[in-house]
């Protein structure tokens, strides 16, 4: 005799402690098992693409801050690269190094948040690892405040460089950070990287094969965790990435643990990149002498992309010769990584759902734009 069960549909979100913002997931459960999952988006839709059509090229930089608000620096970078491609200019060397450095700092900050929340969703009470992650991230945010006066919505970069040279105290605190952060990171790794409970919770849970990952266009750590050797920093070097040496962690089967592990390793590689940038950077111009109101030639288009912490972030710009882009399309990694969510969830349990969602590391500002 079998037990008669009835599927139960629950809306996870938009108000839920672990949906990373106002995200709604309509999930049908059979007991604890998930039999259907559908993401429902749009609670944070602000129409960034439409707003961009009304603003000039520099003003849009402030809009890009608000996409992935845990990684504004890389958003700025992707956008500025797109505009530079459109104008066919190139930032000065010092600006390139500054951008690379700050983008990598931002990657550390973003990955710390991702890892912290991932562990929080595994259920460490009150988020002890999250607090440790925030403690380290705080120092990065402090440096960003020195750099550009804001901590989250940075607007540090401009088309043609960065808005200003870092102050002298930035360099000393960066040195201090580079010296002290590895031990903080080692502490976090000691805390949970090889923890048995974490292992049994994440190993072989929600695996994503390489074929599936490619077919679903996922990018960034999620793609690399599946074993696909793809990193835009290496494959299509922008800014100063061709001048630094770093390794790329590749996962094996793309389960939750691999995604977590790849992020943890990437933080170490980011540190290496920053160290090399600090060694290599030389005095020089930090910004091109471009007019305040930029105009791109009519009919030109460009697609600027970077390896953002969450994946491939691209800006497609089309200019009609005016002071603002005719069309701006944001290829947001969070949205496209999210298209794989139903595959990851179906067949797993309620507790795994939250963890898988955390392992993709979405950011609603970027999903809904």
């Amino acid at each position: 005799m079998s037990i008669r069960t009835e599927p139960m549909t629950i809306n996870i979100g938009p108000q839920h402690p672990s949906t990373h913002g106002v995200f709604r997931l309509r999930v049908t459960f059979d007991g604890e098992d998930i039999i259907e999952a559908e993401p429902i988006l749009g609670y944070l839709h602000r129409g960034t693409e439409k707003l961009a059509e009304e603003r000039n090229y520099v003003q849009i930089v402030t809009l890009t801050d608000r996409l992935d608000y845990t990684a504004s620096m890389t958003n700025n970078q992707a956008y500025c690269l797109a505009v530079e491609k459109l104008l066919e200019v190139e930032a000065p060397l010092r600006a390139k190094y500054l951008r690379t450095m700050t983008a990598e700092l931002q990657r550390i900050a973003s990955h710390l948040i991702a890892v912290g929340f991932f562990l929080q969703e595994l259920g460490t009470f009150g988020g002890t690892p999250l607090m440790y992650a925030f403690r380290a991230r705080e120092r990065i945010l402090d440096m960003f405040e020195m750099l550009c006066g804001a901590r989250i919505t940075l607007s540090y970069m401009r088309p043609g460089g960065v808005f200003w040279d870092p102050p002298s105290e930035f360099w000393s605190s960066l040195d201090e950070f580079l010296k002290e952060f590895p031990s903080d990171l080692a502490e976090m790794e000691d805390l949970l990287l090889n923890n048995e409970i974490l292992m049994v919770r994440t190993r072989e849970v929600s695996p994503l094969s390489a074929e599936e990952a490619i077919n679903n266009s996922v990018s960034g750590p999620v793609l690399r965790a599946s074993g696909v050797k793809m990193d835009l920093r290496v494959m299509d070097p922008y800014d100063a990435y061709s001048m630094v040496d770093f390794d790329v962690p590749i996962g094996s089967i793309g389960d939750n643990y691999d995604r977590f592990w790849v992020r943890m390793q990437e933080v170490r590689q980011s540190l290496r990149i920053i160290e090399q940038c600090v060694d290599q950077i030389e005095p020089g111009d930090y910004r091109l002498d471009l007019p305040k109101v930029l105009r791109a030639p009519e009919g030109t288009e460009s697609y600027g992309k970077v390896e953002a912490p969450k994946g491939e972030l691209g800006f497609y710009l089309f200019s009609d010769g005016g002071i603002s882009p005719y069309r701006m399309k944001i290829r947001s990694p969070s949205l496209i990584n999210l298209s794989v969510i139903d595959r990851l969830l179906v067949g797993w349990k309620l507790a795994d759902m939250i963890v898988s969602l955390g392992s993709i590391d979405i950011n609603m500002g970027e999903v809904d734009r």
């Binding site: 550009c148 808005f163 111009d285």
Partner: protein, 188 residues
């Protein structure tokens, strides 16, 4: 072995238990705020402002409203327009600082505070009188001349409009404001 890593994790938390808390008790203690901090309380120097409304044009949200009066003495002096209205709707401001970046005459500066909570939206509109009377603790954001002086906005001293400019205060005696070309800031 099963359990070893868990014990390792427990030891990490125990080690942190003995550490001093890293959090700051806000109203009593404060984190060090960097001079470039983009804060409220815009510092505006009327003597330098010509009413060109570059800031208003450059603001991504269009929250700065400037009304100038070309008549009266202003035209005779040939220097600048007389400002009648300079409203900043602070409740919509996102503190990107583009208005400061746009100002060709170093008349507008970001402030350094962040504790200007108000109860109504109307209170959040900074009017020209507020700008005139507000404490002049400008942030050094996009103002290299202040950074060169190692100026700290949180030290509390007010800066007069003569002190904040990158040129000597009597530059306008030799040339007319409208004809002046701002030298590229990076050459300073």
């Amino acid at each position: 072995m099963y359990g070893i890593e868990m014990v390792k994790g427990l030891l990490v938390t125990l080690k942190n238990f003995s550490k001093k808390p890293v959090t700051i008790q806000y109203p009593e203690q404060r984190v060090s705020q960097h001079p470039r901090f983009r804060g409220e309380e815009f510092s505006w120097y009327e003597e330098r402002c010509t009413g060109c409304a570059s800031c208003a044009k450059y603001c991504p949200l269009g929250i700065i409203e400037i009304v100038t009066d070309p008549s009266d003495t202003a035209v005779k002096q040939g220097d600048k327009y007389k400002l009648e209205k300079f409203d900043i709707q602070l409740f919509r401001c996102m503190f990107c600082g583009l208005c400061v970046e746009a100002c060709p005459y170093d008349a507008l500066f970001m402030g350094s505070g962040f504790e200007e909570g108000k109860y109504t939206r109307n209170d959040m509109i900074i009017t020209i009188d507020d700008l005139r009377n507000s404490p002049k603790n400008p942030s050094t954001w996009y103002r290299p001349q202040l950074e060169a002086k190692n100026y700290d906005p949180r030290s509390g001293q007010q800066l007069s409009w003569k002190e904040v400019g990158r040129e000597s205060w009597n530059w306008h005696k030799t040339e007319k404001a409208g004809m002046r070309i701002t030298p590229d800031p990076k050459q300073d």
